[in-house]
């Protein structure tokens, strides 16, 4: 007897099938055809057993009843887990920035703009930490964003001190998202004994990086290189991580990324396509198709494999890793984008420089480009998501199992939703998946990774080491 499942084609007429509990198999097209036309009785015994172990088939009516109960229970487990409120608290001390990146994702303000317009009022910091203490539980995760937060290092310090006093000295961790251009010995000394890690951007080798990440009057790449090196040397290699926004300039040169990571001593890559938020689209730079992006990703993975085979250190790629973990690791939901319900508000509470609070980083970007909407969930002294009908709508509609398109997609148990991207692209959170950048990107990533995992043993062992590191 067949139990319900979804299917998506891979290459070579194989199919990826999955069910509500999150089991998956890769099967030949003829197996599915036999199953559909003649039932499971005609299947090879080994295939039949393999499918039964994953709750795709049941051998009796009692087995069917138990199988359905197990599918329902597995789905309930996923839902309950993804519903948990465990936010990262993002704080934006300033929107001002010394860079003028071409694809700026967050929207920025000029360095010389008025502090009163774009900086957090220091007197608000106790309220900020108070909100965090009320909403969160230890260990608290704080992420300081910008603009360029180190423009107001004084605020970063004040936030840390307040957190230390209110949240408990060892009960929180701070990630500072920064271009590192302003990193100096004072900041390094300060960070040394504190629970601080730096997250920065590296978009390729010097030429590629500097073409997009522009530091007027200076060399952005040399700055970030010096910063990364200094942190690695003085604080340790695990205190800095880098993300890469794949621009059109990098697209044809994945090897530039391997080169840059070698030069910078980084072993974990985190590559992402240019985000559709902020001013990236409006400025008209870096537009390319997802097919181009996947061709880039394919070459990058092959380079990683070759690099390791040639005796180099294993490089991991975080985007690939989280897609794989969603598929292979029951209970993994550590990434706000790949969750259903989405990570909106459940995984993120963002406190903006002006005291407004948002349910995600994307929501504040969306707010910047749509000033006529209210996408906030209150202010730091009056947090109230229930008061904004937009929040109600977003949360209610962020379950992919009932989204048209996702409903029948085999990646649904592992995928997620991004309601803000839906609003940004299509004016509402659900949207038409065939036109959704979120869907195009994630569907390609899932099918690419799974296809390669099951087809290419070398790639598989590299992917396994990503997941088990």
């Amino acid at each position: 007897m067949m139990l319900p499942f979804n299917l998506e084609p891979l290459s070579d007429s194989r199919y990826f099938i999955s069910n509500l509990a999150g089991f998956h198999r890769v099967v030949a097209r003829e197996t599915l055809e036999l199953l559909a036309e003649q039932g499971d009785g005609v299947l090879d015994a080994g295939i039949k057993q393999d499918l039964a172990r994953g709750l795709f088939l049941a051998d009796s009516s009692a087995g069917e009843e138990a199988g359905v109960a197990a599918l329902a229970s597995g789905y309930a487990r996923r839902l309950t887990r993804d519903l948990a409120f465990r936010p990262t608290f993002m704080i934006v001390p300033t929107l001002r920035c010394d860079h003028t990146c071409r694809y700026c994702q967050v929207s920025r303000a000029a360095l010389g703009a008025a502090h009163s317009d774009y900086d957090l009022d220091a007197r608000r910091i106790p309220q900020v930490i108070d909100l965090i203490a009320r909403l969160g539980t230890a260990p608290y995760k704080l992420e300081i964003q910008g603009g360029e937060p180190l423009v107001r290092f004084d605020l970063v310090q004040a936030i840390y001190d307040e957190a230390e006093a209110r949240l408990g000295a060892t009960d929180f961790e701070v990630v500072i998202t920064t271009s590192l251009s302003l990193l100096d010995d004072t900041i390094l000394d300060w960070a040394r004994g504190r629970r601080v890690v730096f997250s920065t951007s590296v978009d390729g080798t010097e030429v590629v990086h500097n073409r997009n990440r522009i530091l007027p009057g200076d060399n952005a790449y040399q700055r970030v290189k010096r910063g990364i090196r200094a942190i690695q040397r003085q604080l340790g290699p695990d205190r800095v991580a880098a993300v890469t926004t794949v621009t059109k300039d990098l697209l044809a040169h994945p090897e530039a990324l391997i080169e840059a990571s070698q030069e910078l001593g980084l072993t974990e890559l985190f590559v992402r396509p240019v985000s559709p938020y902020g001013f990236a689209q409006k400025s008209g730079t870096g537009t390319y198709s997802f097919d181009d992006y996947m061709a880039f990703y394919d070459r990058l993975l092959s380079l990683i494999i070759a690099h390791e085979a040639a005796g180099g250190q294993l490089l991991s790629e975080y985007s690939g890793k989280i897609h794989l973990q969603r598929v292979f690791q029951p209970d993994f939901n550590g990434y706000a984008d790949l969750k259903s319900p989405s990570g909106f508000l459940l995984d993120c509470v963002l406190i903006n420089y002006d005291g407004k609070v948002f349910g995600s980083d994307e929501a504040r970007m969306l707010q910047r480009v749509n000033p006529e909407l209210d996408l906030s969930c209150g202010t730091v002294d009056h947090f109230d998501p229930a008061a904004n009908p937009v929040y109600h709508k977003i949360l209610k509609e962020s379950l992919n199992a009932v989204h048209p398109g996702c409903e029948q997609c085999a990646y649904q148990p592992f995928c997620g939703t991004d309601p803000c991207q839906g609003i940004s692209e299509q004016g509402e959170p659900v949207g038409d998946k065939s036109r959704s950048a979120f869907c195009q990107y994630h569907k390609r990533m899932f099918s690419y990774l799974i296809d390669r995992y099951y087809r290419d043993p070398e790639a598989r062992s590299v992917m396994e080491s990503w997941c088990h590191a």
Partner: protein, 370 residues
């Protein structure tokens, strides 16, 4: 049987004068009598050697027994001249047997089921647990304890009311929890820490049903595990690798991680050569080296999901080094021993050793670790 570390059965010839049943064992006469069990005063060397049999309090003389018990331990007198210490303050683990009946017929059952009515055992066990009044966990085993249905609910109520400090670990095949209402009724009665140890041997129904000798058992136990977990009953999932379910180990763990709630721990247990396992040893026992990869993968998966996993009853030299951190020294002290060849082994303090029942064809020798 080989000599185990702690002996639990004592031949006391005059005990045949003592009525069979559970007795609280005293070394001195208590001022207030026990309300749950009759008192058996045990005398040792240097004390009055006379035995007596007077109503609620009997006396027997046995220096050997006297030296092996603590005041207030519970003994089972068989009426044929022996006393078995069933609840001992010196033991690392105590278990009471509440029935020998079972709706499974596992090929490796250590307590092969009997169909006779033994209802009296349940309340006797309750009395023993309450009289013992320990604050450790006591194992409740069978047979299948949940066959008692509503009587088991009363057992839980009584034990938890009168021995609130005592935790229980109930070994059950979980089939009774296929009835969601029963699972809820049990969950509602859990006050002190109670964990249910429930075995599932395969993701595939046919493999589990073969191992437990009962058609339909897999469907019941799977639904039982789901219902119990969803009702909030804490569960220890028990897996015994055999030749028949090696292919099942990894998929079974995936099933557990994806579909079951309420799991406190996964316990993988090396086959124990007792009961029917001795008769079926040749077709069941599997050398751990043949499934070390599966164990490694299970440990990895469980750890990634944050579910504790432990490997029980494995001599350390039968496992690859990488799995040693998950092996626990677990064999109850009354059935554990170390052969002579272990004497020079540096891992002995951490090693569980062997079952004292393993000998001859059942014994797997210690291995030299290079």
């Amino acid at each position: 049987m080989r000599e185990a570390i702690r002996q639990d059965v004592f031949a006391v010839p005059e005990a045949n004068l003592v009525p069979a049943g559970c007795w609280v064992l005293r070394k001195t006469l208590p001022t207030t009598p026990d309300t749950w069990l009759n008192t058996l005063l045990v005398t040792g060397n240097g004390t009055d050697a006379s035995s007596s049999n007077a109503g609620d309090i009997c006396t027997i003389h046995s220096p050997e027994l006297f030296d092996s018990i603590e005041d207030g331990d519970v003994g089972l007198v068989n009426g044929r001249g022996s006393v078995r210490v069933i609840l001992s303050r010196r033991a690392n683990h105590n278990t009471v047997l509440v029935t020998e009946r079972c709706d499974n017929r596992c090929l490796f059952c250590s307590q092969p089921p009997k169909d006779r009515n033994d209802d009296e055992l349940l309340m006797q066990a309750a009395a023993a647990i309450i009289s013992f009044a320990g604050n450790d966990v006591i194992g409740v085993s069978g047979g299948e304890p949940l066959l008692y249905g509503d009587a088991f609910l009363r057992f839980l109520e009584i034990v938890q009311t009168h021995a609130p400090e005592t935790g229980l670990h109930v070994l059950s095949n979980g089939r009774a929890f296929a009835d969601r209402y029963f699972a809820r009724a049990v969950a509602e009665r859990l006050e002190s820490p109670v964990v249910f140890g429930i075995p599932l041997y395969a993701a595939l129904a046919e493999v589990h049903d073969t191992l437990v000798g009962a058609a339909g058992a897999h469907a019941d136990t799977v639904r039982g595990l789901i219902n119990a977990g969803n009702a909030g009953i804490p569960i220890e999932l028990r897996i015994i690798p055999t030749q028949k379910n090696l292919q099942e180990l990894v998929p079974l763990l995936e099933l557990a991680l994806r579909c079951f709630s309420g799991l406190q721990q996964v316990s993988v247990m090396n086959l124990e050569p007792t009961g029917w396992a001795r008769a079926n040893w040749g077709q069941l026992y599997c050398d751990p080296s043949l499934y070390a990869d599966q164990l490694t993968s299970m440990v990895r998966q469980a750890e990634a999901a944050g579910l504790p996993i432990a490997l029980f009853n494995y001599p350390l030299c039968h496992l690859p080094d990488t799995l040693h951190p998950w092996a626990v020294q677990s064999i109850s002290d009354w059935k554990n021993y170390y052969p002579d060849t272990c004497s020079g082994c540096t891992m002995r303090p951490e090693c569980g050793g062997f079952f004292s029942s393993s000998q001859g064809q059942f014994h797997q020798s210690p291995r030299i670790i290079s």
